[in-house]
Structures are given as structure tokens and as C-alpha cells.
């Protein structure tokens, strides 16, 4: 059993598990942090960005002015942003049988895996994961396609060139494998391979393995996965949360007793308490609005935004923000808000019971109805006529490199009255802001990451007791910036097996048993004997059938009478003859002598030896050596006697 690790990003994993005869990809995360190296894509022409000076190296040997621009001391690639894909060379992607998706953030690389690779398998995901994942992909494609960039920069990727560049470009890895965004056609084709599953549904793969998604509590439809056969169990934990937010709570008990637990997707902000951050978010928002400024919240169109809106729903009136317009701008804003209301089955109990009334589970329905929250597909169109300031804008993309957020950065960046509040933990806010420097706007960083922290995960592991834990190497040491915090790492006994991008791990499994089925006819013919109190045994001779990875045992068929005409053609294979069983136990002397007597053998001379007795059957001139762990019959030229004696001895022994 092997694990191939195709991504080095601990929260955007992509691993491949070879388990029994199946090849299973676990998640398909797309590392988008690479886009931070690129210049933002403005929706409206930006004089500032277009006037940025080209980067000229100190020694002036390279000419990359067209590709690289300099802003506030940082160098950016002037090209359509590119993503860092999961490793595609480590194994043949066309051999993958199934892909299991744990949540909609962890499937963004799907089109790169399923398209143009020869992949023919099935993707399993829950319905919310599929629908919201589709929205996020559509949004990404839309962001990229509505501002096409003619230029595609590649010269800087040249190894010799890249070496000379300033950081962080210089340290970026595998830049040659970075890829532009996929198109809608690829998205549709990739998602057409998805088969929907419900929590705790048992899905059989080729009869060999059963996979089952479990609620992970992190986002709508998010799941952990159990991959098991009758005797081996792998738990795949990815992006789980124990906090009470909108999704159904995490199912912990089903993770118990796994042989291997693969742990990914822990919080990226182990020191930031989500509740505290939410409070800070609200107070900063209110402060800015009161001072007459605007608030910009770069965010994904699904997920934490539902919680932010719910929090604001309760907060708006008490903070006297009743007249402040809240805008949610995204090509999928409407869909995301609508979809959130129809997945009652996947929500926490409180929200679930609302639909029984019947009321929409999320209060943003009311915010929309009362016109406090308005949503638009983009800044163009209706929005420009409705736009009133001061206001609060939720929009993407959180990297600040593309999407409508770029426009608001250009619009509001120069005024100190305005505030940008970062809530998504995926991007370093300093890096995100770098191409907008110098900036007068206030910046508040309150990342909300509800995923498990180290304390929670230690407790969880203690509870579910896996034999072995596999995790990204980042979790086995404290974060680089806080090297003294030994509480911010996993400490386990036995120590976790760390992986990094391109690792191939041999998972410590010893398969000892396999499930087989004894057909009723055979089962009825078995004769159990009790060897110890409560323990019985029976010898089994059977025909083994293996089909679709299922093994059944049938009775040995009686040899059919050979048709006389076909005698010469030996078509019939010899029916398998059962070998003689092993024997156990001992032959008690007195009882044996009595039995011999019954069978007319009376003249027996018994001689005691060190290990037992020697019986001399004088009339028959035969010796029987009886010992604790053996019986030896020496009998010449008298086959009937020998077989009689044999059968008498066997009466006292157990057959295995």
C-alpha cells in the first residue's frame, strides 16, 4: 500500500492512495498562491499599473522589461496569472480509478487532472461540494476571461534568468509547470464525471474497497473519507472543523479504529481565534463606516461569507448600520446565495429545523428582501447606477490579483478613510497588497479559519486512536516564524509519517485476513468439533471462486461420470483430492487398550519408555509406539491391520 503525494500545500492536498487493487486520488487542490507573483488584472484601464517601470537587473545583462514590472521594490510578472498544479509526473494519471473530493476548495485542480491526461475514472463528491465547486470554478474562469491579456510571459521562467531575479520570484519552484486557468468547457467536462454521494453512503469500488464520506463540519457538504476493506481501514481527514458554524457537525466516531489516518487541512492560522476575529471584523467595519469610509472585504463567494453575513445580520441594527448598503459582487453571487438556502440536509441542526417552518435557513434571505444586502454579477451594469458610498463591498478574488476587488483597490486605496479587511486565510495580506503600494487605505487582518487547530487535533487523535498518522511535513515542526511554539505542531507516539511534494510513502499495513463467503451448501456440510471450551474447528475443503474481487467457497463438486465415448480425451480435470488433515491431541493408553480389545486384539504387551509406551501386539507382530506428541505404527505386510489400527488411533485425535 502506497501514498503518492502530489501537492506540497498542506491545506490544498492532492494525494494518491494505492489500496488493494485500486488507485484512489484524495482531493485535487490547486495552489493559487503562485498568482501573488503576478500583476493584478484591472477591470478598467489603470494608468497606475500600466505606468509601472519595467524591471532592470543591476548588471543590466538581461532584458525582461516587458515581462517584469517593479512596484514599491517588488518585482511582478506582467502576464495572465498562473497556478501551481499538482505534480503530474510522479505517476500516470490515467491509472487513477476514482477521485474523492472532500470540499469545494479542494477540487479546483480537477480539470487539470481529468482532462487531457487519459483519465477515465469517476469523481465522487457530495451535492453541495459539486454545486458550489462549480460556482467557484465558473467565477475563476469568468475573472480570467473577461480581461484577456495578450501577453504571456515565459522568458523569466528560464532557469538561468530566474536565478538572477529578486525574491520571492527567485525561490518559486517548478515555474515551468505553472499553468493558466482552464476554460468553461474543461470545467463542464471535468464536472460531468462527478457522481454524487451522501454522508455515510457506502460506495463499493470494484468489490475490493468501500469508500464512504463523513461530515467534516468545515463547509457545506464538506467530507472526510473512510477507505476500507473488511480488515483494513484508512481515514482521510481533510478540512475539518469542530466549531459551530453553518455546516453539519463533524462525524468523529466513524473515524475510529483506522490503521492509517491521513491528516491534512488543519487551520492555517493556529494562533487566531475565529470568534475573536469575527468580533474584530465587526468593530473595524462599524468604525470605518461611522467615519465616512468604505469597507472592502476580499473573499470567496461561498463559505465564511455566509457566517459573516449572519454575524452582520445580528450586528447591523445594534451598530446603527441600518442604512449602510452592503454589496456582494461576483459573477456567482446570486447563485451562491440561492444555493446556500436549498441544502438543508447538509446544515447544522439549528438551520435545518428552520426549513420545517418553512423559512430559509440563512438570514441573508432577509437581508436581501429588506434591500440591505444587494448582489451584482460585476461592477458593470446595474451596480454602477445603484452604487452609494459609504458602503461595504464583499468581492473576490482574495488574492487581489483578479476579479472586481482589483477595481476597488484602485478606487479606494488612496484614501485613509477606507479600510480593507482580510478574512480569508489563504494569502499573506502583505504579499496580496504588494502591487498596490504605497497605500493610504487602512488594513485590518482578521483571518477566519475554522479548521482544526493543533490542540483540537491532538484531542481528536486521542479519541479516534489511529495506529499510524500521515501528515504534511509542515505539521511536524513549529511554523517558521514561531519556531519556539512547540505547541503548534503534531506530537504523537508513534511519530507521524511526514510527506512533502513528490514523496512516495509505504504505508505500514499488514494484510492478514481477507473476507470470503462460504456458500450455504458447503456451510451445512461442515462438521465442527469443539477443541476447547467455546472454540470449535472444522476442516474445510472447498473450491475457491474469485470474481470481481469477491471470494466464495463452494463444495467440491462430485466428479461427474465420464462419458465413455470421450475416454481418450481427458477433458475432465481431476477433482481436487482433500489432503489428510493435521492431527492434534494424544492417545490415552488405557482407553486405547480397551478399544483394541474390542477389536479382538488382546495379546498386548505394554512397555514403558521415557516418553510414553510401546505396545507390542504379539499375535500380529506389530509395534505401536504411543507418545505425547506422536504415534508410530510399525506393521509389516498386513495392510488391513494397519488401516484398522490407523482408524482406531484417529478416533482419539482431533483433525485440523
Amino acid at each position: 500500500m502506497k501514498l503518492y503525494c502530489l501537492s506540497g500545500h498542506p491545506t490544498l492536498p492532492c494525494n494518491v492512495l494505492k489500496f488493494k487493487s485500486t488507485t484512489i486520488m484524495l482531493d485535487c487542490g490547486l495552489d493559487t498562491t503562485s498568482v501573488l507573483n503576478f500583476l493584478p488584472l484591472p477591470l478598467v484601464h489603470s494608468p497606475r499599473l500600466s505606468k509601472l517601470p519595467g524591471w532592470i537587473p543591476k548588471d543590466g545583462t538581461m532584458n525582461l522589461e516587458k515581462e517584469l514590472k517593479e512596484c514599491a521594490g517588488r518585482v511582478f510578472v506582467d502576464s495572465q496569472p498562473e497556478f501551481c498544479l499538482p505534480e503530474r509526473e510522479l505517476l500516470d494519471l490515467s491509472t487513477i480509478d476514482v477521485i474523492l473530493i472532500s470540499n469545494y476548495h479542494c477540487m479546483m485542480a480537477l480539470p487539470y487532472i481529468t482532462e487531457h491526461t487519459g483519465f477515465t475514472g469517476t469523481v465522487y463528491a457530495t451535492e453541495p461540494t459539486l454545486q458550489i465547486g462549480r460556482l467557484l470554478m465558473e467565477e475563476l474562469v469568468n475573472f480570467m476571461e473577461r480581461v484577456p491579456k495578450a501577453q504571456s510571459a515565459t522568458s523569466w521562467k528560464n532557469k538561468d534568468m530566474q536565478r538572477m531575479l529578486p525574491g520571492p520570484l527567485k525561490d518559486a519552484v517548478d515555474v515551468w509547470t505553472w499553468k493558466r486557468c482552464y476554460g468553461m468547457q474543461e470545467v463542464n467536462s471535468a464536472l460531468s464525471r462527478v457522481q454524487l454521494v451522501g454522508y455515510s453512503q457506502k460506495v463499493e469500488l470494484f468489490g475490493a474497497v468501500q469508500v464512504s464520506p463523513l461530515s467534516s463540519g468545515y463547509s457545506l457538504g464538506s467530507s472526510n473519507w473512510i477507505i476500507q476493506s473488511h480488515h483494513e481501514k484508512v481515514a482521510y481527514v481533510s478540512g475539518s472543523s469542530l466549531l459551530t458554524t453553518h455546516p453539519q457537525p463533524m462525524d468523529q466516531s466513524s473515524l475510529k479504529n483506522s490503521d492509517v489516518l491521513i491528516l491534512t487541512g488543519l487551520t492555517q492560522m493556529p494562533t487566531a481565534n475565529p470568534d475573536g476575529m469575527l468580533g474584530e471584523f465587526c468593530s473595524n467595519l462599524a468604525m470605518t463606516i461611522r467615519a465616512g469610509g468604505n469597507v472592502l472585504v476580499p473573499c470567496y463567494s461561498s463559505g465564511v461569507i455566509y457566517d459573516l453575513l449572519e454575524c452582520l445580520y445580528q450586528f447591523i441594527d445594534s451598530a446603527n448600520l441600518g442604512t449602510t448598503p452592503f454589496y456582494f459582487i461576483s459573477p456567482v453571487a446570486n447563485s451562491s446565495l440561492e444555493f446556500s438556502q436549498i441544502f438543508a440536509e447538509w446544515l447544522c441542526h439549528n438551520k435545518q429545523s428552520k426549513v420545517y417552518l418553512p423559512e430559509p435557513p440563512f438570514p441573508h434571505a432577509e437581508l436581501i428582501q429588506t434591500n440591505k444586502l444587494k448582489h451584482y454579477p460585476s461592477i458593470h451594469g446595474d451596480f454602477s447606477s445603484d452604487f452609494r458610498q459609504p458602503c461595504v463591498v464583499f468581492t473576490g478574488h482574495p488574492s487581489l490579483r483578479f476579479g472586481d476587488v482589483v477595481h476597488f483597490m484602485e478606487l479606494w486605496g488612496k484614501s485613509g478613510l477606507n479600510t480593507i479587511i482580510f478574512t480569508e486565510p489563504d494569502f499573506s495580506y502583505l504579499d496580496a497588497l504588494a502591487p498596490y503600494q504605497p497605500l493610504a487605505m487602512k488594513c485590518v487582518y482578521c483571518p477566519i479559519d475554522t479548521r482544526l487547530n493543533f490542540h483540537q487535533v491532538a484531542k481528536l487523535l486521542k479519541e479516534v486512536q489511529p495506529l499510524h498518522v500521515v501528515c504534511p511535513e509542515q505539521y511536524t515542526q513549529p511554523p517558521m516564524t514561531q519556531s519556539h511554539r512547540s505547541d503548534l505542531m503534531l506530537e504523537l507516539q508513534p511519530p507521524p509519517m511526514p510527506y512533502r511534494r513528490c514523496s512516495v510513502l509505504n504505508l505500514p499495513f499488514r494484510r492478514r485476513y481477507e473476507r470470503v463467503y462460504i456458500l450455504p451448501e458447503l456451510a451445512q456440510s461442515l462438521v465442527p468439533t469443539e477443541v476447547k471450551p467455546g472454540v470449535s474447528i472444522a476442516t474445510v475443503s472447498a473450491v475457491l471462486h474469485s470474481k470481481d474481487n469477491k471470494h466464495t467457497l463452494q463444495s467440491v463438486p462430485k466428479p461427474p461420470p465420464v462419458p465413455p465415448t470421450k475416454k481418450r480425451k481427458r477433458v475432465m480435470e481431476e477433482p481436487p483430492v482433500a489432503p489428510k488433515p493435521l492431527l492434534s491431541g494424544a492417545v490415552p493408553l488405557e482407553a486405547f487398550l480397551a478399544t483394541l480389545q474390542k477389536h479382538g486384539i488382546t495379546e498386548v504387551k505394554v512397555e514403558e519408555t521415557a516418553d510414553g509406551h510401546i505396545l507390542h501386539l504379539q499375535a500380529e507382530d506389530t509395534l505401536i509406539q504411543l507418545e505425547e506428541d506422536g504415534t508410530h505404527i510399525v506393521c509389516d505386510n498386513n495392510e488391513p491391520l494397519r488401516t484398522t489400527l490407523r482408524d482406531l488411533v484417529l478416533r482419539f485425535l482431533q483433525k485440523l
Binding site: Q201, E338, E345, P358, V516, S536, T539, P581, L583, C635
Partner: protein, 594 residues
């Protein structure tokens, strides 16, 4: 031999008060708990005394499963759980859990408030009963306890309708509830995987009908409504709040849009509007088309259909009104009917089944003079139309489901005996499986023949698989020998050697030695060599070794030669084998004697 027992308490050769008891692998399950629309006495509810004469049902049932929210499937639930007494889990899907209590409350109001019955369940009892409900998601495998698991499949009949797969060990039963194999305006078609249950318990409402195409019926309906509107008449459609009402609304809504009609369409009572809310929130349970487009256009937000006010009934001009209840036995639909009955331009369309005794039933039977309360009589002049839109599988659909699930036995409920008989014959003929149709209180026992799961040691399995040749060939059976260890509830199949080791038993060696005397002039070693070559030519396919220490080994049988001191030609062959080589050993001894 284990068996599964099925006993209908209701719906056995009948439609109404569905309630079926199943005993499987030592577990007892109640499927549905409905009321009978046709009775007002004790026969209204299933006879729970069949389960136990006195005391609560909790000890006798492991779980109760409700297939959908229609009262003939859940109407007796509060009576069963609160008045007879049951505290175990009750499973139903989310939409059923949402809508069921509303219909129960409606039912209670009509029975207690309007008819003045006492000794009926109360509102509080409905609430307490619903607290025992555990919601089911589609395809989720729910572990009721360690052995009993259930799984819900989409049934299509009404919003949230489900079929259930019930499994204990390797025995299983599927109960369909009511289902529909063709998608309609708002719901999808029922689907199940090839789960091969021991028994498939299916409804058989339309056991003998192959229904005309749904499109035709829809066109008919629209044509009638349209004609009536054209001549300035008013159309009354008595409906139950949930289910058909939504389908007909969608139908009219799209028709109005296409034909650009202006006549108003109204909904009576708040409940219907509330019902539309349920459809919006449970949109994932509707058909593919509605689900796909709901963001752009929610099919349950009707543009042309507005809320009704009782004063509108007197408005001049044509209109269409949906009003509850569906059988014209009380409430708003009856009031409107009384107002409109006298005008032959008007029309009433009954879209579903009506129970005897109701006005709906009377007018469908052609009665034209109705006696109302007091002495007044009502002359029915308006047009009366009947249209069946109820979504049940027809004979073709039932056969299709059998093909999908591949059951080993079939059991029909929820239908009329004569029609069942016909379908039973057809099923037995086409699928060569047994088909049962028990009456209420009659038990069907089906023997199952489960195979026994055991854990086989991988070493043994691999050894046996290797024996079958390098490539696994499913057509070629391979023999396997081992020892089954039965300890408490675990069954392990291991090689005999491993069994000895695991049970800490010592092996008992049984050996035989046989001396054969023969005359041979050659030296000892040459004699041995001749035996060696002789055996070699005789026993093809056996390992025969001539060892340097002066022995010949045939597999593990030892052959030695010694000569007596007196006569060098008189050789003694010493043949020694263990019990495991008994066959070969005894064969050799006879060969060497010659």
C-alpha cells in the same frame, strides 16, 4: 434455515392504512403507519394489537420507517407512538419530516374540531411524536444498531417520497412505499441500484393499467380548463395542499405564459402558499430541470397564480381556483363549490381519488341533487370532470423496478386483490420468482439462504490463488483446504498449521513404518537406485529424490534399504510415512511389495 417474515397490518390486498411488519435477522421493522380514508371507526387505524396485546410497542419494534407524507402512510403515527406507545426511532426523509406534521394537524382538526370526535390524538401528541423522528438523507446508510442498516432511495411519488433498503447481515428487503417510474412536471423518476434484495415489497395501485402518456392527460386537462375560461366560466380544482397542486400549478403557469392568458388563477388558503415554500427549500428533491434552473427562475414562484380571498368567488368573469380539501368534504373548496354549482358554464375538475361519502365521490358518480345540512338541496349544474394525476407506477413501471433491483422474491401490497392476482401471474411468468400478496394479518415467510462470511488468512488465500496458476482465471476453480476456527462470533479460516499455532495445540505425529522383504542380488545402494528409477518412471509429477545418505524420498516418504547379515540378497525395504501422506504411503507399500 433463516427466514424473513412479512405481515401487512394494512394495505394487504387493499389501498389505505399502509402498515407492514417485517422480521428480518431477528429485527422487527414497521414500514409506514397510515390511516384508512374510507373508515371512521377503529378500522381507520392498523390493528396494533397484532404486535402486542398489552403494553407498549417499543420492546417489539427496532424501528419505524415512513415512506412519504400522505396520510394513508403516516396518519396513524401519533396514535401509534403516543397512544399505543412507541419510543424507538422513526425514520423519514427531511421533506416528509417537514410536511407530515402539518397534514397530521389538518387531519386532526377535521376529525376533532369539525366532526367532534373525542379520544383522538392531540396537537401535543403530534409534536411529541415528531420528536422521535430521525431524518434520512438519500443514499445515506443509516446504522439503526450494530446489525440493522437502512438506506433511502428516491421514489418520486411526492416531495420527499422514498423507497427503503433494509439490511441485516446478508439478508435484505426493499420497501417501495408509493413510487413513480416516470418523471413528471416537478418530480423525478424513482431509481434503485441492483441491490438484489431477498424480498421486494412493492405497491401495486395500478397493477393492471398501462397508463396513457402523461402528455395526453395534461393536454386534456389544459383543453378543458381553456374551453371553460373561453366561454367565461369559472373552474374549481379541489386539491390537497401538497403534491398534485404544485404539479397542476406548474402546468397552468406555463400554459398561461405560452398562451398569454389573462384570466386570474388563485390559490386558496395560506397552506398552499406555505407548501410552495417547502418546494422552494427542498428543491434538491424535485426533478432535474427544476433543479438546474432554480437560480434563474424558481418554478415554485408563480407569476400568474395569486392568493385567493373568499370575496373573489363572487367576482364576475372567468377564473381558476385551487382550493382545499381535495374531496369537497369541508372547508373552502366546498364553499366555492356551493357558490358555483348552479351555473352550467362553470366546471369542477377532480384531480384525484375521492372516498365514499364525500361530495366529491357523489358528484363523480353522477349525482346531480345534493342534500346539504338543513333541508336545503343543491342542484349541480356545473360540469364535473375527473382526471387522474396521481403518481403511481403502472404495471410497466413495476416490472421496470423489478428489473432494476433484481429481487429474489416479490411481495405486492397497496392494491386491489383481483388486480394484484393478475400482476402476480405476470411477474412469476416473466421473472420466474415467487410473488406473494398477503391479506391484512396474514404472514408470508420467505426462506433465505445467506452465505457465511468468514475471514480467511491472506497467506492461505494467496497460496491457493497461486496454485491456480500464475494468472487468475475466474473460470477455473481452485481447490482450497484449511481449518475454520469458530470462536465466539468470529469465524477465521486459516491453514491447518496456523490453526495449530493459534490454538496453542501440539501436533500429534502419526507415522507408519512398513518393512518389505525382497530378494535382490545387487548391493544396497544399487537396489535403492533401481527403486529410485522404477518409482521415477511410475510416479510422474511427484518429487522423488535420491539423497546421498542412502535414502529415497518420495515427497516426504522415506525409503531405506538394508540387507540382513546372513543373506546379502535378502533385502529389507524400510518404508516410513506420516499420516498426511497416507494415500501415497499405502500406495507405495503395495507397489514395492510386488
Amino acid at each position: 434455515m433463516p427466514e424473513i417474515k412479512v405481515t401487512p397490518l394494512g394495505a394487504g390486498q387493499d389501498v389505505g392504512r399502509s402498515c407492514i411488519l417485517v422480521s428480518i435477522g431477528g429485527k422487527n421493522i414497521m414500514l409506514d403507519c397510515g390511516m384508512h380514508m374510507g373508515y371512521n371507526d377503529d378500522r381507520r387505524f392498523p390493528d396494533f394489537s397484532y404486535v402486542t396485546q398489552n403494553g407498549r410497542l417499543t420492546d417489539f419494534l427496532d424501528c419505524v420507517i415512513i415512506s412519504h407524507f400522505h396520510l394513508d402512510h403516516c396518519g396513524a403515527l401519533p396514535y401509534m407512538s403516543e397512544m399505543v406507545g412507541y419510543d424507538g426511532p422513526i425514520y423519514m426523509t427531511h421533506p416528509t419530516k417537514a410536511i407530515c406534521p402539518i397534514l397530521l394537524e389538518d387531519f386532526r382538526k377535521i376529525t376533532v374540531d369539525k366532526k367532534g370526535e373525542t379520544n383522538f390524538f392531540t396537537s401535543q401528541m403530534i409534536k411529541d411524536c415528531m420528536k422521535k423522528v430521525v431524518p434520512l438523507n438519500l443514499h445515506q446508510t443509516v446504522q439503526v444498531d450494530d446489525e440493522l442498516e437502512i438506506k433511502a432511495y428516491y421514489a418520486g411519488h411526492v416531495l420527499g417520497a422514498a423507497m427503503v433498503h433494509i439490511k441485516v447481515g446478508s439478508e435484505s428487503v426493499v420497501y417501495t412505499g408509493d413510487y413513480n417510474m416516470t418523471p413528471d412536471r416537478h418530480l423525478g423518476a424513482a431509481w434503485i441500484d441492483k441491490c438484489r434484495p431477498d424480498i421486494l415489497i412493492s405497491e401495486s395501485t395500478y397493477a393492471t393499467t398501462i397508463r396513457d402518456s402523461k402528455r395526453c392527460r395534461e393536454r386534456d386537462f389544459l383543453k378543458k380548463v381553456h374551453e371553460s375560461i373561453e366561454r367565461g366560466g369559472k373552474v374549481l380544482i379541489p386539491v390537497f395542499a401538497l403534491g398534485r397542486a404544485q404539479e397542476l400549478c406548474i402546468l397552468l403557469e406555463t400554459f398561461w405564459e405560452r398562451m398569454n392568458l389573462k384570466a386570474p388563477i388563485y390559490f386558496s388558503t395560506g397552506l398552499t402558499e406555505k407548501a410552495n415554500h417547502y418546494y422552494k427549500l427542498f428543491i434538491t428533491w424535485t426533478n432535474q430541470k427544476i433543479r438546474k434552473t432554480f437560480v434563474q427562475r424558481n418554478m415554485f414562484e408563480f407569476k400568474h397564480i395569486k392568493a385567493f380571498d373568499r370575496s373573489y368567488a363572487d367576482n364576475p368573469g372567468p377564473m381558476v381556483v385551487f382550493a382545499t380539501p381535495g374531496m369537497l368534504h369541508a372547508g373552502q373548496s366546498l364553499q366555492i363549490f356551493k357558490k358555483w354549482a348552479g351555473n352550467e358554464k362553470n366546471m369542477v375538475i377532480m384531480p384525484g381519488y375521492c372516498v365514499q361519502g364525500t361530495i366529491g365521490h357523489k358528484i363523480l358518480n353522477g349525482q346531480r341533487k345534493l342534500e346539504m345540512e338543513g333541508r336545503a338541496t343543491l342542484d349541480v349544474k356545473l360540469q364535473v370532470e375527473y382526471m387522474s394525476f396521481s403518481a403511481h407506477a403502472d404495471a410497466k413501471g413495476i416490472m421496470q423496478l423489478i428489473r432494476m433491483a433484481e429481487p429474489r422474491n416479490m411481495l405486492l401490497v397497496h392494491g386491489e386483490a383481483a388486480k394484484m392476482e393478475f400482476l402476480k401471474g405476470k411477474i412469476e411468468q416473466e421473472f420466474s420468482i415467487d410473488c406473494y400478496m398477503p391479506a391484512n394479518g396474514e404472514t408470508v415467510a420467505v426462506k433465505t439462504n445467506p452465505s457465511v462470511p468468514v475471514d480467511m488468512s491472506v497467506n492461505l488465500l494467496k497460496r491457493e490463488m497461486a496454485l491456480g496458476g500464475p494468472l487468475p482465471d475466474p473460470k477455473r476453480p481452485r481447490s482450497m483446504h484449511g481449518t475454520l476456527i469458530m470462536k465466539e462470533s468470529s469465524l477465521k479460516l486459516v491453514s491447518s498449521e496456523q490453526a495449530l499455532k493459534e490454538l496453542a495445540l501440539n501436533e500429534h505425529q502419526l507415522r507408519f513404518t512398513c518393512r518389505v522383504a525382497l530378494q535382490d542380488p545387487h548391493s544396497d545402494s544399487e537396489t535403492l537406485h533401481r527403486i529410485y528409477t522404477h518409482l521415477k518412471s511410475l510416479l510422474k509429477g511427484y518429487t522423488i529424490q535420491h539423497l546421498p545418505d542412502g535414502t529415497v524420498m518420495v515427497e516426504s516418504i522415506v525409503i531405506k534399504v538394508s540387507s540382513s547379515a546372513e543373506d546379502a540378497n535378502a533385502k529389507i525395504l524400510l518404508l516410513s510415512w506420516s499420516y498426511q501422506d497416507e494415500d501415497l504411503g499405502s500406495f507405495l507399500s503395495s507397489v514395492l511389495k510386488k
